[in-house]
């Protein structure tokens, strides 16, 4: 191990003759080294993501430049697989910069329009929370990083454009936080429920089923209710915890909680 102990005094301070010569010799040595190959990467012509080039540079320069840039985890422009998107809104909810809009794309039925993320790269900070949150793994980040455009409006990537990125089959950031068994689930506060079906209708994974429940009958003297009372039941294993049901519930009777 090269670094042991604390060195306080410069080594060469005791030899004043070398005081100008040593730095100049060091610079000259560096000059000689960089005559072979400077560390500069001439960007548009040489690219770090090109593995062949990385090897070349490392060998030519004799230094570990560029080799450390493994691009598997790189967080660049998103790729969206529109086909598997379930319109759960989680990416938009998780975005700290509020740069994701859910826009309607063709493919849904008129009652449940399919919505996919549209990302404004003028605002995006490439934090990766959206791809971490995506329950289906359809929104991932790629190694693409060249975004410059002449117009600000071109910075907004529609789902179609994101799908184009997906089709290029760039190396994608596979990382997602795999959360183990989590204790939080969406629970129901039954007395408040009016059985309106909104949660079941809007659930992106269709994991909410409305079941008939016996309703307490009318008080004496009142007319019996004509409708059948219903109540949502959430299938926890299918639920992606997007919270759409909570946000559409008119009576605020769904909430986050623990089943245990």
């Amino acid at each position: 191990m090269a670094a042991e102990g604390v060195r306080k005094e410069p080594k060469s301070a005791d030899n004043p003759i070398l005081w100008v010569a040593r730095p100049m010799a060091t610079a000259a040595r560096q000059f000689g080294k960089s005559l072979i190959r400077p560390s500069t990467i001439v960007y548009p012509f040489e690219r770090l993501e090109d593995p062949q080039f990385r090897e070349e540079v490392a060998v030519a320069a004799g230094k570990p430049i560029g080799v450390g840039a493994v691009w598997d985890n790189y967080r660049g422009v998103h790729a969206l697989n529109v086909a598997t998107c379930i319109s759960c809104n989680l990416c938009a909810f998780s975005c700290p910069d509020l740069c994701i809009d859910m826009v309607t794309v063709p493919g849904g039925d008129p009652k449940h329009p399919k919505k996919c993320p549209e990302i404004d790269y003028g605002k995006c900070s490439y934090c990766g929370f959206c791809s971490d949150a995506c329950p289906e793994g359809c929104l991932t980040m790629t190694t693409r990083y060249e975004l410059s455009t002449a117009k600000r409006s071109e910075m907004v990537y529609s789902p179609a454009k994101l799908y184009e990125v997906f089709q290029r089959k760039l190396p994608m950031n596979p990382v997602r936080i795999e959360l183990p068994e989590n204790e939080d689930a969406i629970l129901l506060d039954p007395p408040l429920c009016i059985g309106c079906n909104a949660c079941s209708r809007d659930c992106p994974t269709q994991c909410i089923t409305m079941i008939d429940i016996p309703k307490v009958g009318p008080k004496p003297g009142e007319k019996p209710a004509k409708r059948i009372w219903k109540e949502p039941v959430i299938n926890d294993s299918d639920c992606v915890r997007c919270g759409t049901c909570i946000s559409v519930c008119p009576k605020e009777c769904l909430f986050w909680g623990s089943r245990t």
Partner: protein, 375 residues
């Protein structure tokens, strides 16, 4: 007959005027091809060639420094405009030319505009004085060395004028530093030159160079060379003596307020002066365009060989300056002045004494007796 700058200029002038004269009717044609007209135009062409050559050299010098510094810094330097970035500086120049120079409202108009111009002009004048090969200057001036150094030392005045009239505190401090530094280092430079003059016995640069045919002056006058190089570094305001424009504390020093073409003037003149400094070092200490005897005659006798060897030496000297710039930090004003007055002046005096001794005994322990010593 050897080709000189004046003969080239006269030939061009004769050709132009002859062509014009042949199409004009008689009385006008006679006036045009008159000897006085030819000489007048020759003088203009002479000046134009000098200007063009010095500017081109300066720009190439900047390119050379950029490339060298790039490699010193483990990068590439300019590389896209022209071959290996040779035209990059022209592109930069065009960009600066197109930019507006904003004069601060409270700045002194006359000083603000005239400072950079005079700074540049006084530096350009010297190129007419310095010979680059036999006959390649404005003619044999008996006191050309004195004249060159006198014009060279105008610079602090104009720097201070432009610094003061910028009405900026950074500029003012930079101008003060610059003036103090240049005046302090004039003294050792002149003393070192005195040593050279003592040994060569002449103020004429042509003579000084020809005196070095047998041996270059840096051998007997090494001390004077060291003093002269250090002084020139200070005069050229290059690292480690670039404190007037120390960008870390004074932003850009005395040219903080200048932009556009005026800034380009300053930058260009800085390198003009670097070129001049290298010229002077080569002329005074490194034998000018002469080469030592062991160099084969073929290498020194081809056309314009003198200019070739001279410029090669100039670029080598400048390369050393760049090397110093890449590897040494900048000193502080008080340290610089202390070194100037306390070390450089005594050293320069010592070198004068050594030169006088050399002239008196006319002998060097190593080189043996030299008949030409003392002129």
């Amino acid at each position: 007959m050897s080709v000189t700058l004046l003969s080239v200029a006269t030939a061009i002038s004769q050709a132009i005027l002859g062509a014009i004269g042949s199409v004009l009717p008689q009385p006008a044609s006679g006036a045009v091809t008159n000897v006085n007209t030819v000489d007048g135009l020759a003088a203009l062409i002479f000046a134009a060639i000098l200007l063009l050559a010095s500017m081109l050299n300066t720009i190439v010098l900047i390119w050379w420094e950029r490339k060298l510094l790039g490699r010193f810094m483990d990068r590439r330097g300019a590389m896209h405009v022209g071959y290996a970035g040779l035209l990059q500086n022209f592109a930069d120049g065009i960009k600066l030319f197109r930019k507006d120079t904003v004069k601060p409202r409270e700045a002194d108009t006359l000083g603000f505009w005239s400072g950079p111009t005079a700074y540049m002009v006084t530096s350009l004048i010297i190129f007419a004085i310095l010979p680059v090969s036999t006959g390649w200057n404005s003619g044999s001036l008996p006191l050309s060395l004195l004249l060159a150094l006198a014009v060279f030392s105008f610079a602090p005045l104009f720097i201070f004028v432009s610094a003061w009239s910028s009405n900026n505190k950074y500029s003012l401090i930079g101008g003060m530093r610059s003036a103090a530094q240049m005046i302090a280092y004039e003294v050792p430079i002149l003393l070192a030159v005195v040593a050279v003059v003592l040994v060569s016995g002449s103020f004429d640069l042509q003579t000084i160079v020809l005196e070095q045919t047998n041996y270059w002056f840096w051998v007997p006058l090494f001390l004077a060379l060291v003093v002269f190089v250090a002084g020139m570094l200070a005069e050229m305001e290059r690292i480690p003596f670039d404190l007037p424009e120390a960008e870390a504390e004074l932003v850009e020093g005395w040219n903080t307020e200048y932009g556009g073409m005026m800034f380009a003037f300053f930058m260009l003149t800085d390198y003009l002066r670097a070129l001049l400094g290298s010229f002077l070092i080569v002329l005074l200490f490194l034998g000018g365009w002469t080469m030592p005897g062991w160099v084969p005659a073929a290498a020194t006798s081809f056309p314009l060989a003198g200019i070739f060897w001279f410029m090669l030496k100039v670029y080598i000297v400048f390369t050393v300056f760049v090397w110093i710039r890449a590897s040494l930090p900048r000193v502080r004003t008080d340290q610089l002045l202390r070194v100037g007055w306390n070390r450089m002046v005594p050293l320069a005096l010592l070198s004068v004494v050594l030169a006088a001794l050399l002239v008196t005994v006319k002998c060097l322990p190593v080189l043996g007796c030299i008949p030409t010593l003392g002129g």
